[in-house]
Symmetry: C2
Subunit: 344 residues, 2 copies
């Protein structure tokens, strides 16, 4: 594994580069067999290493990048300076095969947009998709797409399903994952025209397709993989965040309302903290951009050093398990099925 | 107000007709000026009145209906028997102007489908929409559409916004409500083609339009009215239900895990119950089918007697405030704006 390398955007995330360097240092402590290339402002990166009092500089390559893209920066603002940004330069390394994967905790929109243009699509994939693990009652499930696309065709949704399946099988070790199609009723006759056609196509594939699934069932953990268009997926994610926020705020308000509740809170505190952690997306190692010609892992902007370390481990699994090759095989099978169905 | 009457589906809901009759009895205790027509199995209705030991039979008209539609019954199953069902007969009364409003806590899909065919659309409305109050951090907000349509055009979404606005102003007393368009980013460039066009149209209307809004902001209560297509709205509702379920189950599990948590729970119990009630949709008087030529209020299947009583009050406000007439005026204004824009 000597020649395997991962390019890390040192400038991405709310607490970059500090947290990123911390995560990298943690990773390198226990793992010697894996090369790291840090991309970002060289001076700042070196300063962080000095602060941590570790001298890993000889084991880590640093690529200087003059510009960074802030977390809320819009497309029109960063597009002009893109060539000099840490995100673009990290992706270039993957494109040039100098690294096999790219990890960033930066601006998700920017990473997606740049990855699409720099890496291009994986062969026969029409649209990449953003996948994320959501916390459910039974553990967690993969939700694809959560915002890489807005208007998706049935063919795209089938590809999202196959890419998610390969990821769950290869990286998460979930064999033959249960796949649900997000809709507004379990009956096949319900849903948009796109959902209905996708249902028909997914049934024709050799996968563990359980049919349509409603938002409630998704959070109860009925499916390992939930397929939906990027608009619906993104709304799902944001609504879930909002509801968690609302419940937490209500709880706080109630707790402060009287002395009995305050006593109760004192005893329940650690339980409530555990629930909060379970529901927090940053614990889940970030989002995956599936379907581009390279491995791209996008951590949450609030990623901890632990989350960065996890993301590096994740990228390693991606490479070792040849996820991109397996996706291409699944897409070839899909094309055969579509041909038989005379679809597309 | 002597001649105002509301037709109530006595057979709709998980605990019909018992809960329905209880709700009606509660309503009639304090309100003499409002006629009630109960539609359903006459024998069962009369039995419930006897059980409650009240003799309101002389003040209430009962229309016998031989069939009822169960809560989870599918279209193909109930469509043949529809003429004899309590839902259809209650809607007929509105159509024939023998009642001004219809209330049902029955099968939402059936009420919608039958209301569309029996009552037809309100003049110049292309598609009716289902509106529901969702609990938010600041109180509650109206979400339209939550499932009357799947594929909606921009024009439909604008009409949903106007109908929701009239309802909030006339019935809920919220003047010039803040209206948000559900999308996946606040920037106008984000969202589906339908969302982008709708954003442009809503900006041209004389309303308090705050632009796009994300799912998280919706639950934080940033808008009084959230406009979305029925597919996204329904997913939103179901995801929110699922997340609430997940948090409650996690909390239960945590509470049972050790003695300290159990003690904490003892003191926090009433606070937790209050939160549960706030988040429970059944407290919010049900959904409104806006845009059909009649007033249709659909209570939650688990409606309590109190919720039924509230739904009757709500229907009264609808009639008194001439909501349907006001909606028609708003739609006329919309048509003028569309003409100026050369749209549609």
């Amino acid at each position: 594994m000597e020649d395997i390398k991962v390019a890390i955007d040192a400038m991405g995330g709310d607490n970059a580069p500090e947290i990123i360097i911390k995560g990298v240092v943690e990773y390198i402590k226990d793992n010697k067999d894996f090369g790291i290339i840090l991309v970002g402002k060289e001076k700042e990166i070196k300063k962080e290493f000095r602060k941590l009092n570790v001298n890993f500089e000889d084991k880590i390559e640093i690529i200087d990048a003059l510009e960074e893209i802030s977390m809320r920066e819009h497309f029109f603002s960063y597009w002009r300076k893109r060539e000099k940004t840490s995100i673009k330069k990290a992706l270039d390394l993957v494109k040039q095969k100098k690294a096999q994967a790219m990890v960033s905790a930066g601006n998700t929109g920017a990473v997606m947009a740049l990855a699409k243009t720099v890496l291009g699509p994986l062969k026969s994939i029409e649209r990449p998709a953003l996948a994320i693990m959501i916390p459910t009652l039974k553990g967690n499930s993969l939700l694809v797409d959560v915002g890489a696309n807005v208007d998706s065709k049935p063919k795209n949704l089938v590809q999202f399903a196959l890419m998610g399946k390969v990821y769950l099988e290869s990286v998460q070790g979930i064999q033959n994952p249960k796949i649900g199609l997000m809709s507004i009723g379990e009956e096949e006759v319900k849903g948009t025209e796109v959902v209905k056609m996708t249902n028909t196509l997914l049934k024709a594939m050799d996968i563990n397709f359980m049919g349509n699934i409603e938002g409630r069932e998704a959070y109860l953990g009925e499916a390992d993989l939930i397929v939906t268009d990027g608009f619906t997926g993104n709304v799902t994610l944001k609504v879930a965040e909002g509801v968690v926020d609302v419940m937490q705020s209500m709880l706080k308000r109630e707790i402060m309302s009287n002395i009995l509740s305050k006593i109760g809170f004192f005893f329940l505190k650690s339980s409530l903290r555990r629930i909060k952690n379970k529901l927090d997306y940053q614990e889940y190692g970030g989002a995956l951009l599936l379907g581009v010609d390279g491995i791209v892992i996008i951590g949450h902007g609030r990623s901890s050093a632990k989350a960065i370390e996890n993301a590096i481990h994740l990228s390693k699994r991606f490479i070792e398990e040849n996820v991109l090759g397996k996706i291409s095989l699944e897409i070839e099978k899909m094309q055969k099925v579509f041909k038989e169905l005379k679809y597309g």
